[in-house]
């Protein structure tokens, strides 16, 4: 839990511009697909979580657009796009 808070605090340092549509989504009906599971630990922003029913959920806010989940889980289980122009993370140092 402490780690989760620490990660939230780190993401809080970054500048994000809101997107009107979430650019990355778990495809309907795929929430239990095993291909999603590696993202639970791999997502650098910790945006993938699992609920009590064993479904993988994705929170859209705080995405660093790194691309890890696209490579790891693939586009059969994820709808994957970059956020619309001007939206998403805006690195000041990079």
């Amino acid at each position: 839990m402490n780690q989760e808070r620490q990660l939230k605090a780190k993401l809080g340092l970054d500048v994000f511009k809101p997107a009107t549509v979430p650019p990355i989504r778990i495809k309907p009906g795929m929430q239990r697909d095993p291909r999603l599971r590696p993202a639970l630990k791999a997502c650098p922003a910790g945006l993938y979580t699992e609920n009590a029913g064993g479904e993988v959920l994705l929170a859209a806010d705080g995405c660093l657009e790194c691309g890890t989940c696209r490579l790891l889980c693939g586009t059969e289980v994820l709808e994957w796009a970059y956020p619309e122009g001007g939206a998403g993370v805006q690195y000041r140092f990079g």
Binding site: Q3, Q6, L7, K10, L11, L13, D14, K17, P38, K41, A42, C43, P44, A45, G46, L64, E65, C66, G67, T68, R70, L71, L72, G74, T75, Y82, P83, E84, G85, G86, G88, V89, Q90, Y91, R92, F93, G94
Partner: protein
Amino acid sequence: MDKFEVIVVGAGLAGLASAYTLAGAGCEVLVLERGEYPGAKNVSGGRLYVNPVRDLFPDLWEKAPLERFIVHEGITLMAAERSVHLNYSGRELREEPYQSYSVLRSKFDRWLAERAEEKGATILTGVRVDDVIKEKGKIAGVLAGGEELRAEVIVACDGVLSLIPERSGLRCAGLPRDYAVGVKEVIALAAGTINERFHLEGDEGAAGLYVGEASKGRFGGGFLYTNKDSISLGIVVGIQALLEDGRALDVPALLDDFKSRPEIDRLIKGGTTVEYAAHVIPEGGFNALGNLWGDGILVAGDAAGFALNIGFTVRGMEYALASGYLAARTILKAKEAGRFDADTLAVYKMLLEDSFVLKDFRNFQAAPALMENPRLFNHYPEMIAGLLRDIYAVPAGTKQRLYPTLRKTVTLGEMWSLGKDLKAMMKL
């Protein structure tokens, strides 16, 4: 309807190098960047080796917003409870022109974009390219924000995921084994403190790579670069290692563990993290390169797979700058011929082959496979650090002779595998 001569997708180093060169030669070029400003989406460890690209952009370097020139090259074998640190410093690193610099991409790319604009390039920010326009098998432009933008030729510099080349049919979605993910923090620290802690003067800088525990014995490692008044600290780990059931690594925790190592903690103590970033990195080398051109399209930078990790140096930015530049030279030749079909654009391949870009990629073709050797990350750091522990140990009573101490670690079996690993290294 507007038709441009050249549309460049992405204002990273490849795209900006391309635009700068094209605009400088009088070409009409439009750069489309999805970030709020050039550099907004761009992350690197951040180390730029200038020598290979110095002459391609002779006017750029003097005023470029580079951070520090690197005079200390460190490599640390990090075992679970000990580490072995090797520092290289040499006169040539302290003499101008300096070999390499730490950089912060948001700053650098923004500045480079201004230089490209001065040459006459148009850069539109906040514009995401959604797709390419295909006509009779040729790429005729791009779709962005519901608008059709047509061009004689497009240069895809859209970064490591290479979505534009994928949409153009030049490559398939990448495989986990050909990529790594890097996560890093930029930690603000006073310049004077950095100089003291790293034994630097003025704008001198230090670079460090950490092998072993930093990536929990898996393919990857930690890195540290000193900037003017901050430290870039991060870890890189192969995407494949994130797939392995039961042993999969927790990426955010990996960086926190690395930060709390005593070797690192004392270097960043008192610093304030000001940014947290993550980005995927191409690691597949020559064999993972996609198609580099097609009818009406050229691919440069990370989008082409141009990043090369050979252990001691991890490079991508020079390849991005050079491939962007060579894509521009190709387009200028094609413009003379008045044709932008794949046959005409094949000049790009020739230019890349003649340059350090594909020469390096061919020379180091074996590197990605060698880096897959798990012993490099999970065995040697522990073994070497353990050997040094025994060599330096002074127990109560008598100390063991050195040779038997050495042989306790370097057994016949160990020598045998070491020999095999060294033999494999001969390909490098």
